[in-house]
């Protein structure tokens, strides 16, 4: 049977889907246009309209087909690609290179990203200073705006940030979908705890050395954003580490395992976000009465958040990023979005609508700038 038809609980009629999409339509229009379109630059208007249509069509389809992850991932991947493009473009425009120099560090010109946050906390508490050479209030990707955005999203969505807000996650999410079946199936569950080990290490070493050690030595996304100019054996070694981790954990392993291996085994912010899952209202629930224990959800979960034991116990682990892949895969609708305190199996549709509205709105608004900017550049290139 077609999977679309199986998931009938979450499907809606065309008219009803339009009605549900209307608030998103209005809010994203306001955010993307600022209330008015500037017709003096037709390319910018066209880019804004294309981005606006893209997010709203995806949101409409989520309601119309009852599928979540299938449409989430489209915007998620576009977000990752366009953000990297925008970041690189800015870097090249400002300093004519993707690499940064010592003077860029001294002048605090390094764009900030949310992966630094776990390393900032201890040094900020003890020394009242921020150990990242970026701008606090001004310029592109400043520290305060990123911290506030991450904090709000994490408090509301928990690890949902990793699937609805992180502008890096789309990379390995995209690569993990390239094969139909995984070439590597057996992965020891012990590796799920690796991000916590990395978090422990980088938080401690950053506190001791007052250097964001993850950015300095580990971050694989240096390969698609910015990196230290190779001028010594040490900087060459760092570049080697960045590239190896990017190729290994963001490209090759996701293709072979069909899992988001960078998010699952490396990202220290993912560990923090996993802990935040304990306090956030939204969660994924397992309706044990409806579950047939086919374990399809365990198989498709990209973050190793579900095990057979979890399903038997009727609860998802702290690693869940609420991506919706298990929800889409469940033919019995036994896995669904929920809210803590509301019993599993109740208000499935209402809670899904509520979660989708909050999470998709966040992703749509957060990604809008990068998507519009990239489309604008592409249109200028074409016409």
């Amino acid at each position: 049977m077609d999977n679309n038809l199986i998931n009938s609980t979450f499907r809606k009629s065309f008219g009803k889907s339009l009605l549900y999409a209307l608030p998103m339509f209005l809010i994203t229009f306001m955010f993307m246009t600022g209330g008015r379109l500037n017709f003096s630059d037709p390319m910018a208007v066209m880019a804004t309209l294309i981005a606006f249509l893209l997010v709203n069509v995806l949101y409409f389809l989520m309601h119309y087909t009852g599928k979540t992850d299938r449409y989430r991932v489209v915007l998620f991947i576009i977000f990752a690609l366009t953000l990297s493009y925008t970041l690189i473009k800015n870097m090249v425009e400002i300093r004519s290179s993707m690499s940064f120099s010592r003077s860029d560090i001294l002048e605090c010109k390094i764009p900030f990203c949310h992966l630094v946050i776990p390393m900032m906390i201890l040094p900020a508490a003890f020394t009242k200073s921020i150990i990242f050479p970026g701008s606090i209030l001004n310029g592109f990707a400043n520290i305060s705006s990123m911290v506030v955005l991450w904090l709000v999203a994490t408090l509301v969505l928990g690890r949902g940030f990793c699937s609805w807000g992180c502008f890096y996650g789309g990379w390995d999410d995209g690569f993990s979908r390239m094969r139909k079946k995984p070439a590597i199936r057996k992965i020891n569950e012990i590796w799920r705890w690796m991000p916590f080990a990395i978090l422990f290490m980088v938080a401690l070493t950053a506190a001791l050395t007052l250097v964001p050690t993850y950015c300095d030595w580990i971050c694989p996304f240096k390969a698609v954003t910015e990196f230290e100019k190779v001028t010594s054996v040490e900087s060459a070694a760092k570049a080697g580490v960045f590239l190896s981790l990017f190729i290994g954990l963001v490209v090759v392993l996701p293709i072979l395992t069909k899992k988001r291996t960078q998010c699952s085994f490396l990202c220290p912010l993912g560990a923090v976000n996993s802990l935040s899952n304990k306090i956030t209202p939204f969660t994924v629930k397992i309706d044990k009465a409806a579950c047939s224990e086919c374990f399809k959800c365990v198989e498709v979960c990209p973050l190793f958040a579900l095990t057979k034991e979890d399903i038997k116990a009727g609860k998802v682990s702290i690693f869940c990023s609420k991506c919706g892949k298990c929800v889409d895969a469940c033919s019995k609708n036994a896995i669904h979005y929920g809210i803590k305190g509301v019993p599993a199996g109740t208000l499935k549709n209402f809670l899904r609508n509520l979660f989708l509205f909050v999470s998709f709105l966040f992703m749509a608004i957060f990604s809008a700038g990068a998507v519009i900017s990239t489309l604008h550049s592409l249109l200028k290139l074409i016409f």
């Binding site: 080990a197 290490m201 054996v233």
Partner: protein, 185 residues
């Protein structure tokens, strides 16, 4: 080993005395080690090539130890303080534990010996060991409560993974130092 001593049936006063004796013994042993390692380093690192290469090599050895420690199953079986179980005088137990704990050839001790040996002055070596003493002593303070921790297995897993990771980082640092040392002559 020491948690048993601290978490036994003794009162707070007894535990405080035992803990103080234990830490004092460690402090004295580290003082001697700082002196020894610095003089050893002075003798070894007079040659500029050795000064460049040896720290890199030592980092690599340290890294191998860390990785071995994280993957080896034998760490679960060995009791480094077996000798203590043969001591009858209870007052000697924390002192002996202090000595055994300080001299236990673990990756962290190896690292601080390397650091002590490469310091410019004896005072700097003392300071490095003092910082190591303070840092490593902190870990003993919450240990009496270890029995209360839930999900101990998870914490153990994270600890083992972090050890392996530190090993990999030191391996890269060691290789970098080594190549840098060779290139710089």
């Amino acid at each position: 080993m020491f948690p048993y001593l601290m978490a036994g049936s003794a009162g707070v006063r007894r535990i405080t005395i035992d803990l103080s004796l234990f830490l004092f013994t460690r402090f004295v042993v580290y003082f001697f080690l700082a002196t020894l390692s610095w003089y050893f380093g002075q003798a070894l690192f007079r040659n500029p090539l050795a000064r460049n290469l040896v720290p890199g090599l030592l980092y690599i050895v340290f890294a191998i130890m860390l990785v071995w420690y994280s993957i080896s199953n034998s760490r679960r079986n060995k009791c480094p303080a077996k000798i203590v179980t043969t001591v009858n005088d209870r007052r000697l137990v924390p002192v002996l534990l202090g000595v055994v704990n300080s001299l236990g050839f673990c990756p962290a001790l190896f690292l601080i010996l390397t650091k002590g040996a490469t310091q410019g002055t004896l005072f700097q070596s003392y300071m490095a060991f003092f910082a190591f003493f303070v840092g490593s002593s902190l870990w003993f303070l919450p240990l009496p409560l270890a029995g209360k921790v839930r999900k101990k297995e998870v914490l153990k897993t994270i600890g083992i993974l972090a050890t392996g990771l530190a090993g990999i980082i030191f391996m890269i640092k060691g290789i970098t130092n080594l190549i840098g040392g060779i290139l710089n002559g």
